[in-house]
C-alpha cells in the first residue's frame, strides 16, 4: 500500500526543493540586514567540498562531515564578513561575487585535492547510510512494504523536512528577538540604528555568518544527497539562482524565499519544455519583478491580508462577506 504511493523520483525532487529552501533562507538572512551578498553559492561549495572530502578521504561519518562543512563555511563567512562588511551595497555584491569566482578557480585548479573540474563522485549517500544503520539495528524496510530504494529516498526527505521546519522555526523566533529587531533596524537605516546604540558591525557580521552557515549546511546536504559535486555546481549561476529565490518570492518575510525556492524548483520539473529555457525565464522574472514588485511576491501586506481573511472566515463565517457586500 505505502510502497505503491512512494515514488523515488518525486521524493528526490522534493529533497532538492528542501535544500533550495535552506539556500533561499540563507540569502534572506543577509538581506534582512540590507546587505546583498552573492557569496552564498561559494559558501555552499565550501560546505559541500569540506564534507565530501572528509567522508571520502578520511572515512568520517556523514554527520561529522556535514557538521564540519557547516562550520567551515561559517568560518569563511566570518573571515570574509568582517573586512567586507565595511563596504556598502554594490561593493559588497561585487566582492562576494569575486569570492565565489576565486573559490571556483581554486576548486578547478587544486586537482590533487578536488579532482579539478571533473568533480568528486562516489560521495557517501545520506539515505544509504541511514538504511545501513537501520539494518544494523535489525530493522528491515520490507516490514513497511517498502523497497530499499524507496526507503532511502523517503528517509532523506523526512530528515530534510524535519531540518527545514526546524530552521524556519528558529529564524521566525529570531525575528521576534532582540537580534531580529536589530537586523530590521539596520535594514531600514544604518545611521539611525547606530545612533540608537546598535552595534551594526556585529549584527551585520552575525547575519552574514548565519547566511554562510546555512549555505554551507545546504551544500553539505547537497553533496550527500546527490553523491556527486563539481566546481560548476557552485559558480555564478548558482549564486544567481539563490538570489532569484529571494527576489521572486520576496525578501521581507521568511515565507518569501521559501515560496520562491519551492515554486522555482518545481516549475522546471513540472513543465519539462520550460527547463531548456529556464535561465532565460529566470532573467525575465528578475527583470519584471524589479520593475513591478521589487519586494517580491510575498510581503508583509499580503501575509496580513491573508491572516485577516482566514480569521474572519473562522469567526463569523459568512457574515463578514455580507458586511463587505
Amino acid at each position: 500500500m505505502l510502497g505503491e504511493l512512494i515514488n523515488p523520483y518525486y521524493l528526490q525532487v522534493a529533497s532538492f526543493i528542501l535544500i533550495n529552501v535552506i539556500l533561499g533562507i540563507s540569502i534572506y538572512i543577509t538581506l534582512s540586514t540590507g546587505q546583498l551578498s552573492l557569496a552564498n553559492a561559494g559558501f555552499m561549495g565550501v560546505g559541500a567540498y569540506t564534507s565530501a572530502l572528509l567522508t571520502l578521504n578520511f572515512d568520517f561519518p556523514i554527520l561529522i562531515g556535514i557538521l564540519a562543512g557547516t562550520l567551515m563555511a561559517g568560518l569563511f563567512g566570518i573571515i570574509i564578513g568582517i573586512p567586507t562588511l565595511r563596504l556598502q551595497g554594490v561593493y559588497l555584491a561585487i566582492v562576494t561575487l569575486g569570492f565565489g569566482e576565486v573559490l571556483r578557480v581554486i576548486l578547478v585548479n587544486w586537482e590533487s585535492l578536488t579532482k579539478g573540474s571533473i568533480g568528486l563522485s562516489g560521495i557517501p549517500h545520506l539515505g544509504r547510510e541511514i538504511l545501513r544503520t537501520f539494518k544494523e539495528l535489525g530493522f528491515n524496510p520490507g516490514v513497511m512494504g517498502l523497497q530499499n530504494n524507496q526507503f532511502i529516498f523517503l528517509m532523506v526527505f523526512l530528515l530534510l523536512l524535519f531540518i527545514v521546519i526546524g530552521i524556519i522555526w528558529f529564524f521566525k523566533r529570531q525575528n521576534r528577538s532582540r537580534i531580529g529587531r536589530a537586523f530590521a533596524a539596520i535594514k531600514l537605516d544604518e545611521k539611525a540604528a547606530e545612533s540608537m546604540g546598535i552595534n551594526i558591525t556585529y549584527y551585520k557580521v552575525l547575519a552574514f555568518t548565519q547566511g554562510a552557515l546555512l549555505s554551507g549546511f545546504a551544500g553539505a546536504l547537497y553533496a550527500h544527497v546527490l553523491a556527486y559535486i563539481s566546481p560548476a555546481d557552485f559558480a555564478y549561476h548558482r549564486a544567481v539562482e539563490i538570489l532569484i529565490f529571494a527576489v521572486f518570492g520576496g525578501s521581507e518575510v521568511i515565507w518569501g524565499p521559501v515560496f520562491g525556492a519551492l515554486f522555482l524548483t518545481v516549475m522546471p520539473e513540472v513543465l519539462r519544455f520550460i527547463s531548456e529555457y529556464r535561465y532565460m525565464i529566470y532573467g525575465l522574472i528578475i527583470l519584471v519583478m524589479m520593475a513591478v514588485r521589487p519586494q517580491g511576491l510575498i510581503d508583509v501586506h499580503l501575509l496580513n491580508w491573508m491572516k485577516l481573511k482566514t480569521k474572519k472566515r473562522g469567526k463569523e463565517h459568512g457574515t463578514a462577506n455580507q458586511k463587505s457586500a
Binding site: T84, E101, V105, N109, H237, Y279, I286, L287
Partner: protein
C-alpha cells in the same frame, strides 16, 4: 620573448580597459553597476562573427553593425531594466543591480539558443597581418586595439570635460533634480549614456574576436566580471583609472600565464580587488568621482 609578452599584455589590457570604460560611464552617471555590460559586449562579438564569417562582409561593416546592435540593446536595457526603477519610491538601491543581473542571464542564455554553446572562430585576414621588428613578431591588430582604446579614452575624457553634452552628463551625475531644473534633459542624457557605454562594449567585443579568434556565449560573464574588478581597481567612475586598471590587469594576467600557473589567471582580478578594497577602498587612482 619578454617584449612580445609585454605587447600581448598591453593588448589584453586595452580590451579590458574599453570594457571597463563602459562600466565606468554608467556608474559615473547613474551610480549603477551594469551587470549586463559583459553580455552586451559578447553580443557585439557575435555580430562581428556573423557579419565577417557568415555574410563575408567587410570589417568596417562588422564594426558598424556591432555598434548599431549594441547601441539598440543599450537603449532597451535603459528603457526596460533601469527606467522603471528610477523615481520610484521605496525601491532599494540594490534594485537596479539585481535587475541588470536579470538582463545578463537572459542575454547569456539567449545567445546559447541563437548561436549555440560552441566556440566561433573569427575568420579575418586582417587579424593575420603581422610584421617583424628584429626577432619580435607584432600583429597589426594589436596596435589597432591599443590605438582604439587610447582614442576612446581621450575622446571620452574630452567629451565629458569640454563639450556641452558632457557637461550636461556630469551635471546629471552630480544631481539629477538640479540638473533637470537647470534645463538639462536628464532622461535623454541618461539614455544616451547607456547607449554610448553599450556601443563601446560592442566595439570591445569585435576587438576581442579579432585578437583571440574565438567567441563564445560564456565570454560575456568572464570579461564582464573582470571589467567590474577593474573599475574597482581604478576607482569607480574614473575614466583614466579604468584605463590604467585595465592595463595593469592585462599585464598581470599575461605574466602569470608565462611565469606562473596559468590556471589561476582568472582569479587574479578578484584577488586584487579584495585586497584593494581592504587597503584602499577608493581605488588606486583615488578621487571619488571624476567622471
Amino acid at each position: 620573448m619578454l617584449i612580445e609578452q609585454l605587447i600581448n599584455g598591453i593588448t589584453l589590457g586595452s580590451i579590458y580597459a574599453i570594457v571597463a570604460l563602459g562600466f565606468t560611464l554608467v556608474f559615473g552617471v547613474l551610480g549603477i553597476i551594469n551587470m549586463a555590460h559583459g553580455e552586451i559586449f559578447m553580443f557585439g562579438a557575435f555580430i562581428g562573427v556573423i557579419v565577417t564569417s557568415t555574410f563575408k562582409g567587410p570589417l568596417w561593416l562588422a564594426f558598424a553593425a556591432a555598434i548599431l546592435v549594441t547601441g539598440i540593446m543599450g537603449y532597451l536595457l535603459e528603457r526596460f531594466a533601469l527606467r522603471p526603477l528610477r523615481n520610484k519610491q521605496g525601491v532599494s538601491h540594490l534594485a537596479p543591480l539585481i535587475s541588470t543581473i536579470g538582463v545578463s542571464i537572459l542575454l547569456e542564455n539567449l545567445s546559447h539558443h541563437l548561436f549555440g554553446a560552441g566556440n566561433h572562430p573569427f575568420n579575418n585576414t586582417f587579424a593575420e597581418i603581422s610584421f617583424q621588428i628584429g626577432s619580435i613578431t607584432v600583429y597589426l591588430v594589436q596596435i589597432v586595439i591599443f590605438m582604439i582604446s587610447v582614442i576612446l579614452m581621450y575622446t571620452l575624457s574630452y567629451w565629458l570635460g569640454k563639450t556641452k553634452a558632457g557637461k550636461a552628463l556630469r551635471a546629471t551625475a552630480e544631481n539629477l533634480e538640479t540638473a533637470s531644473l537647470l534645463g538639462v534633459d536628464t532622461k535623454k542624457t541618461i539614455t544616451m549614456t547607456v547607449i554610448i557605454a553599450s556601443a563601446m562594449g560592442g566595439i570591445a567585443g569585435i576587438l576581442v574576436g579579432m585578437a583571440f579568434n574565438s567567441v563564445t556565449p560564456q565570454m560575456g560573464l568572464s570579461i564582464g566580471l573582470k571589467g567590474l574588478a577593474i573599475i574597482i581597481l581604478g576607482g569607480m567612475g574614473n575614466v583614466k583609472g579604468a584605463m590604467a586598471g585595465g592595463l595593469i590587469l592585462g599585464l598581470a594576467e599575461t605574466f602569470i600565464v608565462v611565469y606562473g600557473n596559468s590556471g589561476y589567471r582568472d582569479a587574479i582580478a578578484f584577488a586584487a580587488i579584495i585586497v584593494i578594497l581592504l587597503v584602499r577602498p577608493q581605488g588606486l587612482f583615488g578621487q571619488k568621482i571624476s567622471a
